[in-house]
Symmetry: C2
Subunit: 471 residues, 2 copies
Amino acid sequence: VSVSDRLIKELAGVVGEAHVLASPEAMAPHLTDWRGRYTGRALCVVKPAETEQVARVAALCSAARTAMVPQGGNTGLCGGATPDRSGEAVVICMSRLNRIRALDLINDTVTVEAGCVLQRVREAADARERVFPLALAAQGSCEIGGNLSTNAGGVHVLRYGNMRELTLGLEVVLPDGRVWDGLRALRKDNSGYDLKQLFIGAEGTLGIITAAVLKLYPKPRATAVAWAAVPGPAAAVELLGRLRARFGERLTAFEIIARAALDLVLRHIPGARAPIAGEREWHLLIEVDDHWEDIDLAHAIEEALAAELEHGLVLDAVVARSLAQAQAMWNLRENISESQRVEGYSIKHDISVPVSRIPEFIERAGEALRREFDEVRIVCFGHIGDGNLHYNLSRPISLPDDAFIGQAAAANRVVHDLVARLGGSVSAEHGVGQLRRAELTQYKSPVEMDLMRSVKRALDPFDLMNPGKVL
Amino acid sequence: VSVSDRLIKELAGVVGEAHVLASPEAMAPHLTDWRGRYTGRALCVVKPAETEQVARVAALCSAARTAMVPQGGNTGLCGGATPDRSGEAVVICMSRLNRIRALDLINDTVTVEAGCVLQRVREAADARERVFPLALAAQGSCEIGGNLSTNAGGVHVLRYGNMRELTLGLEVVLPDGRVWDGLRALRKDNSGYDLKQLFIGAEGTLGIITAAVLKLYPKPRATAVAWAAVPGPAAAVELLGRLRARFGERLTAFEIIARAALDLVLRHIPGARAPIAGEREWHLLIEVDDHWEDIDLAHAIEEALAAELEHGLVLDAVVARSLAQAQAMWNLRENISESQRVEGYSIKHDISVPVSRIPEFIERAGEALRREFDEVRIVCFGHIGDGNLHYNLSRPISLPDDAFIGQAAAANRVVHDLVARLGGSVSAEHGVGQLRRAELTQYKSPVEMDLMRSVKRALDPFDLMNPGKVL
């Protein structure tokens, strides 16, 4: 038997034959990323159900010097969980490792396995009057291991931080099959290097996260959602500062939606209606939450926005009067990507700059793009409260997809060069994967690239973990 | 000239002769730690004033294969900034590198150099209606570089997190003198490994932090401070959960003070008075803050505590009626260490366990210590809201200091074995330094020690950075 046949057999010995997929049909769902941009090949897909099985799988792959590609819900946006085209890697699908191991209501923590779907963790918390605050469009299918490996963000980062800030401990299978038990449920631990930080956001290139201890928060009991039109991005960030000063941590979401993005949703999503009348260019979706039931947040945010209307920082605003109205506002925001997809190919950017540089970024990026690309349609929206924009370009009506795709590299260059000049990042929350890998070396200093490579070599000396991603 | 004489001369060429200290008298303040537990020797103490000077100092030391010991305000509690006894290391005192480089009120960030005293950063924020929330006893003399290198905690971690959570970017001089410019002011950045996490909490063993971008928060406008007596630690953590559910992020501090700790303060600090009458065993200091000026927090916390008094979770409580009263309550908490010092040597522990295990820890640690050590005086207090206790032992009245010091290793063993069994940490917020170094190998798994050593070797292959600390 060949070396690879023997490995497949050994893997089946660990997880059971039913959980090693080797036929093209069975493997197919695991070999293409969610957006359909990347398709790879693999020796097989293996589905362990326990940490100890993951460890044995890794040990076998390591002994055979075979690459491993950890995969969660396969909802990543950068091809980070898709194997390369060599056909030599083993995809390790973590979806069967999906238990909620413990829920500690006094410590406010939940211990979950990597294959847990985010929505299940959110529901488990909700059932006990807690909130696990990570919230993003893919939450019905993305898995905790992927959320950790990409340091996922979403719409509540403003208040609760990224996945990194929500994590207290990790259990990780190292490339050689050893298990690092860092599954601590501590809010403070300064006993040496904080190793979990290495694996969070490493996109599976340093090891395989198998479980995590995550923070829970008490469930807010009052919520208000408002929609506001503002004169422009500068007014938006100024309003952000005013609302932060007034509402403190209650300010849970602060999203910007440019007119073009809103129009797409109104055009393509049945039942979608603009919350405010008139042709406004810049819109904000604002959410505030509180733990006091007896507080009238709707009144408070209305009052605050009314005061800013008098100062000219707000042009118009409306506060949701019901949960249904609030949900309708959120649906406008959440359906932008879907609406964009209907109109053909789009060139997406997931950038961040300091919040104070957002207005300059939007102005200069728009100018530069309009100068170089005729009829470019800029679809700008996102987490302006975090300095993070999904700055997307939709295919011009007159241009076929192919021609537009040909412009992607040049458009990326325009946008990302500006991001770099403004001290920003070319990947705010989606990660690097395959999509941004080549650009990293362009925008990061040689010292930084060298440090990253040193870390990679130290933890994965044979380059077995998710090769071709990040570095 | 000898190799070391030549190095001293070269260093003087970089920072100026006045800023290289080589006489025993001039060096003395830099060679003993704040608690007076460790005294080392050094080739010289060098005081750079700019990042570029730090880089050249590191390059010279590296070329000469000479160890470097970064030092900030020298207020550390574990001997992490004190050189070993070889006399071969260069102490790099960062205190002259003390500019506030930038303050961005829209991004809510401040960019500061490592030698900035914490209090100055707090005041700079305060002057602009912001708060930099790190607050600890040494804030008048500790420096940001030390706060970063020890991932400092303090009394507001419950709401704002440790220094790690307060940091967006770092500038670091690597052991070979290269500068890593990671001084990003971004709330989201997933473009590769989050390298700053390596240096935060590394106690100067991986590089020299020269500057940082730190988060600011809007300044709270309403505050209430309360003192409560509770039946015991189990009631304390249950009350914590109830108050978190009611007050959310407003709950800024939640400190426990055992009777023995309070008694020390009442005995030794002039003017100190117990906030509530009677012989209560367990006390809590509680602070809530809000951004709404028009909210009556004092009334709200009083109401909440009164309700718990009826349920028996609280035995007695009082809410500060003035800033002076609030300050008096805080002084009781802040003077415990000082009062303890008056009564002679003490064996200190800075432990954490999951908040839910705190009651079990306190009960079992007390039992075990009383079994093994006659007349042991347990002085238990600290950040129970974070699961972090300063679990100290004061010298029994009848025992001379020397005999008590002889018991330290055995007492540590009793306390830390229990901490390990409860999934805790032997250093919650003070770090490892020299004090806990030997214990790390006892309480961490071989896999974890091996990972830490791999990281150390990758970044500091010649073991030049702060040798003999942490690892």
